[in-house]
Symmetry: C2
Subunit: 138 residues, 2 copies
DNA sequence: TTGTACTGTAACAATTATTATTACAGATGA
DNA sequence: TCATCTGTAATAATAATTGTTACAGTACAA
């Protein structure tokens, strides 16, 4: 990936974690991220479908964490926002070339291994731990 | 990253490795990758500046590997084509928010750690080993 | 039961990143 | 001096990402 979705999702979830159960509106969250509320709602919608967040419509609505932050791994968040392999697309090589014909298979293997190395790392920290890095400067 | 540059660079270098020192033209390489020769030359230019490839202009020109493939780590190639951190951009959050003010620092740390996990993995294989996966089906 | 404050979502526009194309000066060898 | 190749720039086309606007629907509260 090369977008800001991971940062956005982690920002949203961190805010919700640190709000200690208080409902936050998408507008308030958008204000903190400095992003359009509709985009935030789009990411919230994704995170809600995946069970990270529960939200409530209507007056006084907003969203809260649906799971304990100690049970949410950063790897979970990574997977929530990443569809495409991060090492990038493979090529569409020339099948008439012996190398071209074989390379995508080997690239795919490599991408899989590399992505595993990455997620293993992200498997080791939780949203709770990430949130604890923040100093409450009020 | 989310582009095909890693795949392109690895494809180029693999071809050069398996050509056993024979000069290859950018057109020939482009044919295997199924990519525009000018784009291939651009990547070759990058790889040349970084010392992976040496090339020769003029009639009969082309390029060859400048280093032993056993000494080229996949991590070297990754670094050659990746400027931007793969976990994506950070946000430009609202400095008026306590969380927003701090998050980029924590994101950067996380990105650095995660990228390290990835490159450590790529540090473990060489271009030579990658090339050995290919069966010479002539 | 009506107003207000939200979510959820779609449609669309704008922006940015990536990839592709074309062109051509300069190098090199036959 | 011709053909073949690199190196590079300028530019166009395409694709991905981000931003905007709009509005139906939900929920609470007066």
């Amino acid at each position: 990936m090369n977008n800001a979705r991971f940062a956005t999702a982690l920002h949203i979830l961190t805010l919700l974690d640190l709000s200690k159960g208080e409902r936050l509106s998408s507008e308030m969250i958008a204000g903190s991220i400095n992003l359009n509320p509709a985009l935030v709602r789009k990411e919230i919608s994704n995170l809600r479908k995946l069970g990270f967040i529960s939200s409530k419509e209507g007056n006084g609505g907003g969203c809260t964490l649906a799971r304990q932050s100690a049970d949410i791994l950063l790897a979970d968040i990574y997977r929530a926002v990443n569809q495409t392999p991060f090492l990038g697309r493979t090529n569409t090589p020339n099948p008439a070339c012996a190398i071209g014909r074989q390379i995508n298979q080997h690239l795919d293997e490599l991408y899989t291994e590399a992505e595993l190395a990455l997620t293993s790392k992200l498997e080791k920290s939780t949203l709770k731990e990430f949130g604890e890095k923040f100093q409450s400067e009020l």
